[in-house]
């Protein structure tokens, strides 16, 4: 039965190749490994305006990615955007007086949360809140203000 056994081998190789391709897509093409291997804890920050921030937008400190946005909702009383962020557990020493700002990567790039650590001795714990925040800069608003200001100066 030489013929059948080569057939078996080829079918086996085919199935193995298909599964390898799926692993390749999972690990090399998508970010599955980055999501699953790290434990994280949640902190929240309130912004006047969260701009174009989305779920899964990166959270970084000093340019290093330390977590990602897990949920964004609107506070019905204060009309502020409540942004929940999962921070990888290895970065558990974020001071409680840290400043959170929404920035844009490049001119057309995606928006991200940048954390600038303060000098407090106390660190943020799970479900802790960042008190000092800086809203996203809305380009249209900034241009509007600039035009308004230059018109005022001419008077």
């Amino acid at each position: 039965m030489q013929h059948t056994s080569t057939q078996d081998t080829l079918v086996g190789l085919f199935v193995a190749a298909g599964i390898t391709a799926l692993f390749f897509l999972a690990l090399q093409v998508s970010n599955l490994s980055a999501l699953t291997e790290k434990d994280s804890y949640t902190i929240t920050a309130r912004f006047e305006n969260s701009g174009g921030l989305k779920v899964k937008s990166p959270v970084s400190a000093a340019g290093v990615k330390i977590g990602q946005v897990s949920a964004i909702s609107l506070d019905p009383k204060t009309y502020e955007a409540v942004v929940k962020m999962s921070i990888y557990s290895q970065y558990n020493n974020i001071p409680s007086d840290t400043t959170a700002s929404v920035f844009t990567a490049g001119l057309l790039g995606e928006q991200y949360v940048s954390l600038e650590p303060g000098g407090s001795e106390e660190f943020l714990k799970n479900n802790g809140a960042i008190e000092i925040t800086q809203s996203a800069i809305i380009l249209e608003k900034a241009i509007g203000q600039f035009l308004f200001k230059s018109a005022e100066e001419k008077k």
Binding site: V11, G18, L25
Partner: protein, 260 residues
């Protein structure tokens, strides 16, 4: 005028009765799968002729589709100075759309037409009725293993197509056109999601595999048992599969990627 109406009515009735027969055939075929499981040899033989023999055309097409995407994407993106997002473009279009759709179309042409011709010829040479005489159910013995093989091979082939295409895009993009290799992979990893993009692509190919195998086997089983009938059935397999794949792709895309 009356003749025209009668003709129209006859056509409508026959297409509905065909749909009914097709559904009944599918149910029989699904029921027959249970009896395939204790005989994996039947499935293995069909996996070979449906899957392994389609591998070459799928991988070569995947390579060239990926290379063309890399080339075209580079020319468009370099106008905006965004060549580094080439990887995102190639991978997204392959994983979400081109991988499942093009490999299903090739699969219908390569394996579907062969299945129809094989079953149709078995019917024309009365092998199927011969089996029935010997109290062997041709649905369980012939149809169900082929159906299961097509259904299992399709997602494997589509995944291979996407993976090889992404590598092809990388060969052209960073090998020939000078896009940074690290940026190609890093941007891709940052933008593509395993569940939203890759698993949805696999689900698409599972649906296409199901539909293509069903159409191919039913057309063969339902063919008029003459040489002309078989040739018509083979044509119908390719045409109907292509329509179903593209139509279903629209519906699945609207369902899966509608909200982002």
């Amino acid at each position: 005028m009356i003749e025209l109406l009668a003709h129209l009515g006859k056509n409508t009735r026959s297409s509905f009765s065909k749909l009914g027969r097709g559904t009944f055939f599918l149910l029989q075929c699904l029921a027959g799968i249970i009896s395939v499981l204790p005989r994996p040899r039947l499935l293995l033989n069909q996996m070979y002729s449906v899957g392994v023999l389609s591998f070459l055309i799928i991988s070569i097409s995947g390579l060239f589709v990926g290379m063309v995407l890399g080339l075209q994407g580079f020319y468009i993106l370099s106008d905006f100075g965004a060549e580094t997002t080439l990887g995102v473009m190639v991978a997204t279009s392959l994983v979400r759309e081109l991988g499942p759709v093009v490999s299903a179309l090739l699969f219908a042409g390569r394996a579907g037409s062969a299945l129809t011709a094989e079953i149709g010829l078995m019917k024309a040479t009365e092998q199927l009725s011969g089996m029935e005489m010997m109290a062997v159910d041709p649905i369980k013995r012939i149809i169900s293993p082929r159906f299961l093989a097509g259904f299992l091979s399709m997602p494997l082939l589509a995944t291979l197509f996407s993976a090889i295409g992404i590598i092809g895009g990388q060969i052209v993009g960073s090998g020939l056109l000078g896009v940074d290799e690290g940026a190609y992979w890093a941007q891709m990893q940052a933008k593509l999601d395993f569940y939203d993009d890759i698993i949805n692509g696999v689900i698409k190919s599972v649906v296409f595999g199901f539909v293509t195998s069903w159409i191919a086997l039913f057309e063969g089983h339902d063919a008029v048992p003459t040489s002309e009938g078989i040739s018509r059935a083979t044509t119908r397999t390719v045409v109907n599969s292509a329509f179903s794949i593209l139509g279903l792709d629209f519906i699945l895309t609207a369902l899966m990627f509608g909200d982002d």
